[in-house]
């Protein structure tokens, strides 16, 4: 029940998931692996956050899922992005970039001030 075991700001995990899923149908375990890999082990997604997030996104219609076989021949739940999810990803990414830019501006200016 304690929230955000990853140190990600609220809502960021959703964005990351959408981004990873954009690359093609992928199952939950691979999503966690992929985020960890891409972030070079900085971000470790706990399943306690990952699966509720996946189900939430699916429920909101941003992700869709189907059961199919993996390379190893086992059945897994593969998530892919819906059209709604793609739009959402685009706008969220835009938002995030703006936010990051704004935060950086502030951080840099305050650094300069204090120096």
């Amino acid at each position: 029940m304690t929230q955000s075991k990853s140190d990600l700001p609220q809502g960021t995990l959703d964005l990351l998931i959408l981004k990873v899923v954009l690359l093609g149908p992928i199952h939950g375990y691979a999503i966690a692996q992929r985020i960890q890999q891409i972030s070079r082990d900085v971000l470790q997604v706990q399943q306690g956050s990952l699966y509720p997030a996946l189900h939430r996104l699916e429920n909101r219609g941003l992700l869709a899922a189907e059961w199919r076989d993996t390379e190893t021949g086992r059945e897994a739940k593969f998530y892919h992005l819906t059209a709604k999810g793609q739009t959402q990803l685009k706008s969220e990414t835009e938002n995030w970039k703006q936010l990051a830019k704004a935060v950086r501006l502030i951080l840099e200016s305050s650094e300069a001030d204090s120096l």
């Binding site: 199952h27 375990y29 699966y51 739940k77």
Partner: protein, 881 residues
């Protein structure tokens, strides 16, 4: 996907969720293996990494937004499992709730019907007012000329209608007429009520005009029974009171106004009707208030008009006072609101007691289940989930209780309606959707009330982290003990209040029924009521002749010792009439009044009250002879204290010109007459039935050696022989007539009689509930303290000590509750004071009896768990550890 489809697919989703997480877990294991761990190591590490599977699942379910529904379903299943395990608890709770809810809703339905619903079918009942006039002597009811003045002058009313009633002979063709009950009404009555005839036409003002052809509108019931609902009834030529008349319509089913009758006919404007002053025949006036006008406005206005009339007609209208009633006051007395309100309050108290009991039982269960709850909390179940679960369980119990209660209500209201049915009271007892809504509302309220304390406990438990406590048997903290003790105190107090309230009501009722009537062995006196058809017996001499023949016939029955006629039975009403005593003209208050009775010559010997001075009536006292009268002791005590009454003269003054002076020839002992609550002997004037014949409805009395059953057929045969058209009813012993005859009671006291019959049921239920509650608390406490008792016994406490300890623990809150209850009932019974007869609201017998009964019952309820405690085997109790 719609939520219900999801619900249907819930099992599949659960499987998928499971598979998805397992897949992830296996992925972790595989990675670990690849990193070079051994198989068991890889698994353990994966488990550590993965964390609480259940919690993840729970959050996934939450994320799907269907959590609440899933939660409900699983909680329901969980609760049902729990109920099956604690079946005794479940049955007791449901039974308790069903009783309390059923009782409450029943009382609510009756209260609603009597106080708020009004006359069935009538529009805008709350605007209707019933109006009567009365002389200070008690004589009533409405003078027609006064009514016309009100109708033309009072602005508080939209309209007003006059109503009289009476039996009239009715026939269709040439058969013998039968008497039917007809209301003589102003022709605007049905327009005032807002009800249309279902067949034919309504009255028009012309129907009331002098010389207009007589018309009649039938009551549905009469149309059904007499005419088999024939559709061509309108226009049928009949004879009413010997005159040709036409039936013009039928009112819809269920319209009985002002009470049950056979038909309505327009009021006949005879010279007698137009006389000022109260004459027999006027019944009452119904008025419809203008929008925004109140009963008080109407009263003020009518009183003003009457004052004007009093100045104008001092002889007839002096001291006339006016009574206005709403519908509920009309059918149930002025105190109806208070009577039924307090009845309902009583039913609410019973419901509260049931809730307190259930709370106690639920609390006991919650404590027993505290490990379950704390485990679930530790496993990550949300606090709200726990709260919701408790609430849900209570709702299920209340739902079952409410459903049974609904059944009880239907049964009880029907029983009540049948038991209290009276032609003089038209009440709509249908159970409508509003009643159902009320039932649902109180069931839910009860569920919430019952859940609050256990919820509080669970919330506290979470804060404390109960799992850390004594896992072997979480014992109650002092706070829980105080709470259960407080519940015992309050329900004991409530039971005392209800018991003492019921006690004074019942004792008041008994005081009325068992009052001394002055009649000697009424169980050996047989009485019957005869109704003489009006076409033959309108002339007084015809009635005198009839009763002489009846007397002769009845005395031919071998076992009949004496026979007498009377215009009213003992304990019934008399005919209240104003009178004057010779030499004492014009007393204040328009003279004195007394109840007049016409009786046969053997009446006094028959009822066991022969004259104590002077003589009895005899065969000489007939029309044409010297007019005589006999008075009772009360009369002489009031009007001739210390004087010799024999030979004095008096006469009734309500007819103009007043009758002849009558000579008092005897004084008889007091017999109960004219006092509905039978608490005092009124002054009575008896007239010989051969001089002042009884009316067309009269009574005969027989003193016979045989019981009623064996005489009944012989008496019927003789009555039939004298005149086959005379209707004999109510044949039974006088003793049976003394039992409560609600039709002869005034509205208020008949309601009280009902209350006296109902309130002991309340009190018994309250007592039973209090006993169950106390038992539950004590039984639970004993089982909680098994270990402690074991230790005490192991260290040398005797069984008697243990018993005393348990008893004193249980009886202390009972004692406190009794004291509080006594104090409260002193206050509550004051409300009843005005309605009590022959008993004080602080009646010592009741006030001592109620606590004693309660104490004994409580002692019994405590005794069982206390005995169980003494049988605890110390070694076994300690092995529990």
């Amino acid at each position: 996907m719609r939520w219900w489809r999801r619900l249907a697919k819930r099992g599949e989703m659960e499987r998928h969720l499971d598979a998805e997480l397992r897949f992830h877990f296996d992925g972790l294991v595989a990675d670990n293996l690849r990193a070079g761990m051994s198989e068991p190591e890889a698994r353990r590490s994966a488990r550590l990494q993965f964390g609480g599977v259940e919690q993840v699942k729970e959050e996934c379910r939450d994320a799907r937004g269907l959590a609440w529904l899933d939660g409900i379903v699983s909680d329901l299943r969980f609760a049902l499992r729990g109920f099956r395990r604690d079946w005794a608890f479940t049955l007791a709770s449901i039974a308790m709730l069903a009783l309390a809810i059923g009782l409450n809703v029943t009382v609510f339905t009756v209260m609603d019907a009597i106080l708020f619903r009004g006359v069935p079918l009538v529009k805008g009942n709350d605007q209707l007012l019933f109006i009567q006039e009365r002389y200070p002597s008690g004589r009533c009811c409405v003078s027609y000329p006064d009514f016309e003045d009100w109708r033309s002058q009072a602005h508080a009313f939209q309209s007003m209608a006059f109503m009289a009633d009476g039996l009239v002979p009715f026939r269709e063709r040439q058969e013998r007429p039968t008497d039917v009950f007809a209301f003589d009404v102003s022709t605007n009555l049905f327009r005032l009520l807002g009800v249309q005839p279902m067949l034919g036409r309504d009255f028009v003002p012309a129907d009331e005009a002098p010389g207009a052809p007589l018309v009649a509108i039938l009551n549905y019931r009469f149309w059904e029974s007499r005419f088999g609902k024939r559709a061509d009834i309108a226009g049928l030529a009949v004879q009413i009171d010997g005159a040709p008349a036409t039936i013009i319509g039928v009112m819809p089913e269920g319209l009985d106004f002002p009470t049950q009758g056979h038909m309505w006919i327009p009021i006949a404007h005879t010279p007698a009707l137009q006389q000022r002053g109260l004459t027999p025949g006027g019944f009452e006036v119904v008025g419809r208030l203008r929008d925004g006008a109140s009963l008080e406005d109407a009263r003020t206005e009518l009183v003003t008009i009457n004052r004007r009339l009093e100045a104008e007609y001092p002889v007839t209208n002096r001291n006339l006072f006016i009574n206005l009633f709403s519908y509920s006051a009309q059918i149930a007395g002025e105190n109806a609101t208070r009577i039924f309100g307090s009845l309902w309050a009583g039913a609410c108290l019973v419901l509260l007691i049931a809730c307190a009991n259930l709370t106690n039982l639920t609390l006991a269960r919650t404590i027993g289940r505290s490990r379950e709850f704390s485990t679930r909390i530790a496993l990550g179940a949300g606090q709200w989930r726990m709260v919701w679960q408790i609430l849900e369980e209570s709702l299920m119990l209340a739902g079952a209780g409410g459903a049974l209660g609904w059944w009880i209500t239907n049964w009880a209201v029907r029983t009540w309606a049948v038991a209290t049915a009276s032609p003089y009271q038209v009440v709509d007892y249908t159970i409508n959707s509003g009643i159902f809504a009320y039932l649902v509302a109180i069931s839910i309220a009860a569920a919430i009330l019952v859940s609050l304390p256990p919820i509080g406990r669970v919330v506290r438990m979470e804060m404390k982290g109960a799992l850390k406590g004594d896992a072997r048997g979480v014992t109650e903290g002092p706070r829980g003990k105080h709470l259960t003790a407080a519940l015992v105190v309050s329900q004991t107090a409530l039971a005392v209040v209800l018991l003492s309230g019921a006690g004074v009501l019942v004792r008041s009722f008994v005081a009325i029924v068992s009052a001394d009537t002055g009649v000697r062995d009424p169980e050996h006196i047989l009485v019957g009521s005869v109704r003489l058809p009006s076409d033959k017996y309108s002339i007084p001499n015809a009635r005198i002749g009839y009763f002489e023949r009846l007397d002769a016939q009845l005395r031919t029955i071998p076992d009949v010792e004496q026979e007498a006629v009377a215009s009213a039975l003992p304990a019934g009403l008399g005919n209240l009439r104003p009178f004057e005593i010779e030499g004492r003209p014009d007393q204040q208050d328009r003279g004195d009044s007394a109840h007049f009775l016409s009786v046969g010559s053997k009446y006094f010997r028959l009822v066991g009250a022969p004259p104590i001075s002077g003589r009895d009536f005899d065969d000489r006292d007939r029309t044409g002879a010297v007019p005589v009268a006999i008075v009772n002791e009360s009369f002489t005590a009031k009007f001739w204290p210390g004087e010799q009454p024999l030979g004095k003269h008096l006469r009734a003054t309500d007819r103009s010109p007043p009758g002849e002076w009558r000579t008092v020839v005897g004084v008889v002992p007091n017999i109960m007459q004219g006092d509905l609550i039978r608490q005092s002997f009124k002054p009575l004037i008896y007239l010989p039935a051969r001089q002042e014949p009884v009316g067309r409805r009269a009574y005969f009395l027989l003193r016979a050696s045989l019981p009623r059953d064996q005489l009944a057929s012989a008496v019927r045969a003789e009555v039939q022989k004298v005149d086959p058209d005379v209707l004999l009813t109510d044949f039974g012993t006088l003793k049976a007539h003394f039992a409560f005859d609600r039709d002869s009671m005034d509205a208020e006291h008949s309601e009280l009689a009902k209350q006296a019959a109902v309130s002991p049921i309340f009190a018994l239920i309250a007592l039973l509930l209090a006993a169950i509650g106390l038992y539950a608390v004590m039984a639970h406490s004993v089982s909680q303290r098994t270990k402690e008792v074991g230790v005490r016994m192991a260290t040398g406490a005797a069984g008697e000590d243990i018993r005393r300890m348990i008893l004193s623990e249980g009886m202390l809150p009972v004692a406190i509750g009794i004291i509080l209850g006594l104090v409260a009932s002193l206050a509550v019974n004051r409300i009843l004071q005005s309605q009590l007869v022959g008993v004080s609201s602080y009646d010592p017998i009741t006030m001592a009896g109620a606590p004693v009964i309660l104490f004994l019952v409580a002692l019994l309820a405590c005794q069982i768990p206390a005995r169980r405690a003494t049988r605890i085997n110390p070694t076994e109790a300690l092995r529990w550890e």
